[in-house]
């Protein structure tokens, strides 16, 4: 298939997934703001979120004070922020529009309808109820998009590039969500306990749809180590790093070309380290350090996918 087509499909999927993960990230933070905790902790949560997305400076310039309402206005609805949910939904739709001939009409109609509906709504970022249901809606539309892709798309190259984008983005997001929370919740060493901690960890699990899963898998107290294990190393956890990387590796094998061997090897290496890894060794390196390295590898894979397939060989 055309390199440019593959590129649009890949980014269509990435932006769809990114919008969903942003909604998850913002949702968990705004839920925490309902807990009886100090304003300072809440603010730290927002600062950590903005920092890990890399938008702290841009936010400061445009909005100043770090308040829930400001951050949500910036990260959810601000069209001038290229990484806001709004901008991601729009970018997903524009990428789909550029290759609508390759998509099934259901996929195009789904992404187009999401954008049309978003364009038509005006929400107040200060209204918790509205904001909460907006995040739910974004997640729901992302589920719908994935379902339609799953249910209607031919299993050809287009399919593989779509999922490659989805899983690389998801790996990146899960690592960031975990890093923000881990950082924030455990400033020093690994100590758990207290009601506030419990709520924060459960909020984190909720944000990646893993709360019920945790209960089923561990049937025990929520501990940071197990949360990390679930989100890093479990193959049956759909948003875990391991799950994402085994999917990335699989789809890379399916689109293999003359120049992609090294990319495939690196994906395989990363997947193998997750496959055979133990949570103890993760904690020996330090979770934050581990996640930073992981994010670097995911970024490298993204760059390599672009180079090998999407902006294909020069004349």
């Amino acid at each position: 298939m055309l390199s440019r087509t593959a590129d649009h499909l890949y980014w269509m999927a990435r932006y769809t997934e990114r919008a969903e993960n942003l909604a998850r990230m913002l949702d968990v933070n705004s839920r925490m703001s309902l807990l009886p905790q100090g304003a300072e902790i809440l603010q730290q949560g927002w600062i950590a979120t903005l920092t890990i997305i890399g938008l702290m400076d841009a936010f400061r310039q445009r909005y100043g004070a770090v308040t829930s309402s400001n951050v949500i206005a910036f990260m959810a609805f601000d069209r001038d922020n290229p990484l806001s949910i709004c901008s991601c939904v729009h970018a997903a739709r524009e990428n789909a529009r550029a290759v609508r001939g390759t998509l099934t009409s259901e996929i195009w109609e789904t992404l187009n309808a999401t954008w049309l509906e978003m364009r038509g709504t005006s929400l107040r970022s200060s209204n918790e109820e509205e904001v909460g249901s907006f995040f739910e809606w974004v997640k729901y539309r992302s589920h719908v998009a994935r379902g339609v892709i799953q249910g209607t798309m031919l299993r050809d190259e287009a399919w593989h590039f779509t999922w490659l984008g989805t899983y690389l983005e998801r790996a990146d997001s899960t690592a960031r969500i975990l890093d923000v929370k881990y950082h924030l919740l455990l400033p020093r060493g690994e100590q758990a306990g207290g009601a506030a901690d419990y709520y924060q960890w459960s909020a984190l699990l909720h944000s990646v749809s893993a709360f019920e899963i945790y209960r089923r898998v561990y049937r025990d107290l929520i501990t940071p180590r197990r949360v990390a294990e679930l989100l890093v190393l479990r193959d049956d956890m759909p948003r875990s790093l391991r799950r994402c990387m085994s999917q990335v590796h699989m789809h890379l094998q399916s689109v293999r070309n003359a120049q992609s061997a090294e990319t495939e090897r690196r994906a395989g290496e990363l997947q193998a380290s997750l496959h055979f890894g133990r949570i103890d060794s993760v904690f020996e390196i330090g979770l934050h350090e581990y996640l930073v390295r992981f994010l670097g590898k995911v970024r490298d894979l993204g760059d390599r996918v672009s180079r090998d397939f999407l902006v294909s060989a020069a004349d």
Binding site: M1, L2, R4, T5, R100, G101, N257
Partner: protein, 473 residues
């Protein structure tokens, strides 16, 4: 001022009796409750929006997407009228292709003095780069959109030949799909000739003109990109034909062969159905600032390694200053009398035509010879004094840039408007395909001027569309 337009549905002015071919529809409309029809119209709007059948309007905010209004009253053409029209269209397109081939080779029609040579050779649409190049099958206009109107007692006239990158066929197909979805019962009552196979015919046609020696040609559709006004159509046709929709950046030329960049490396391209104007095709030969084209494409084309459809240089045959000579082409190349008439046309480079036009500006339609899309034209009867005067000055500055035609009383077809159903002027653009043979699907795009009294049907000027039914009996 204007004669009463021919009424497509009713037998004569003031008469409530319908033409035979409209009777079934009229009685269906009469017995169908108003609410149901209104409901269906709203449904059509929603569906068109959701499917994203939009076009982009130039001059407004970049990337403004608008819906082309769709009217649910079909335009019906009885079998015998279509038969005559189709024969006339095929004849005309044959002659136009023969003319283009002649101009870029021996120029017999000029030598015979049937068309003034400077009219052709000094025309900005004449491409000297094409002189002496053989193209497969000597076909230049593989896809022709011929604009036809009915005037007077219902006679068909050709208003314009579109031989460069005619658009609109996707609306013909989508309008039909929409009508069948909204009103399946109407199709049970009529035997409407199908048009859905157009993409198959088009693909077959494009494959038939591949460079010789290519067994299984790769055909691509070349678009300027997602912000072009007709992008929806480009994507739609590529999808329907199952071919790649490419932009200039996806193609490159190596050793006079054209390749597309794919995820598995370069792949040969044999036929390019281009929806980009000549000027933008190859920055090495035409506009050097074009970001849309492919450097070296013309060299590959001249070497016979790739077919471009429509060919480069077809503009010389559909220019409005050449239009008056098309009937002469039919006689010259085919030795036949034209089956379809031209609209009488004044060519303002001729002194006597210019004088007449300036004296009768109020009654005439004046068009720029290179204009398209309804931009830059004057409709005398609808213009204010100031507009007439301004246009008079423009004509005087460069008369050779204009032609003038009498204001035709375009036929009118009942159409849904705010106040209910009222007659609105329409035209018709059938699409004629030329390859190994000349074919066309029974139908075309009917455009309707939605503003009362307006004669401008272009979508960029507030026109809408209707489904076009050619009856099989």
């Amino acid at each position: 001022m204007l004669a009463t337009p021919y009424d497509e549905m009713h037998a004569s002015d003031g008469d409530v009796r319908e033409h035979e071919h409209y009777k079934t529809f009229a009685s269906w409309l009469a017995r169908t409750p108003g609410e149901r029809v209104a409901h269906k119209r709203a449904e059509a709007d929603t569906l068109f929006h959701r499917v994203g059948i939009t076009f982009t309007v130039y001059g407004e905010d970049a990337g403004t997407e608008r819906l082309i209004p769709f009217d649910i009253v079909p335009r019906i053409i009885p079998a015998n009228e279509w038969k005559h029209l189709a024969a006339g269209l095929k004849q005309r397109v044959r002659a136009l292709n023969a003319f283009t081939n002649d101009i870029y080779h021996s120029q017999e029609i000029l030598n015979a003095g049937r068309i003034p040579a400077e009219q052709v050779l000094c025309n900005g649409q004449y491409r000297p780069e094409m002189q002496g190049i053989d193209v497969p099958g000597s076909i230049y206009a593989h896809i022709a959109g011929i604009d036809v109107v009915r005037a007077g007692e219902g006679e068909f006239y050709v208003l314009e030949d579109n031989l460069r990158v005619p658009s609109g066929v996707s609306y013909m197909l989508e309008d039909r799909r929409m009508m069948m979805r909204l009103f399946p019962e109407l199709f049970a009552l009529h035997s409407v000739a199908p048009v859905e196979h157009y993409p198959d015919l088009l693909l077959e046609n494009l494959r038939s003109v591949a460079p010789s020696g290519v067994n299984d040609p790769t055909v691509v559709l070349l678009t300027p990109g997602a912000y072009n006004s007709a992008y929806f159509e480009h994507a739609f046709l590529a999808q329907q034909m199952g071919i790649e929709l490419v932009e200039g950046q996806d193609l490159f030329v190596d050793d006079e062969f054209v390749y597309m960049r794919t995820t598995r490396g370069p792949q040969r391209v044999d036929v390019i159905y281009r929806r980009i104007d000549d000027d933008f095709l190859d920055p090495l030969v035409f506009r050097p600032d074009s970001m849309l084209g492919i450097p070296g494409l013309l060299a590959a084309y001249r070497a016979g390694r790739v077919t471009i459809a429509n060919a480069i240089g077809t503009g010389v045959a559909d220019d409005k200053s050449i239009y008056p000579y098309v009937p002469e082409m039919v006689r010259f190349y085919l030795g036949e009398e034209p089956l379809l008439s031209n609209v009488p046309t004044f060519v303002l480079r001729r002194k006597e035509d210019l004088d007449y036009t300036l004296a009768h500006l109020r009654e005439l339609v004046v068009k720029e010879v290179h204009g398209a899309g309804g931009y830059g034209m004057l409709i005398g009867p609808a213009a204010s004094k100031a507009e007439l005067e301004a246009f008079r000055q423009r004509i005087l500055r460069a008369p050779e840039k204009y032609i003038a035609q009498p204001t035709l009383a375009l036929s009118a077809c009942p159409t849904f408007v705010d106040a209910g159903i009222a007659p609105r002027h329409i035209d018709l653009r059938p699409f004629v395909l030329s390859g190994r043979e000349v074919t066309l699907v029974p139908g075309g795009l009917t455009r309707v001027a939605l503003r009362e009294g307006s004669l401008v049907v272009n979508s960029s000027q507030g026109g809408g569309t209707k489904d076009t039914w050619v009856l099989e009996r």
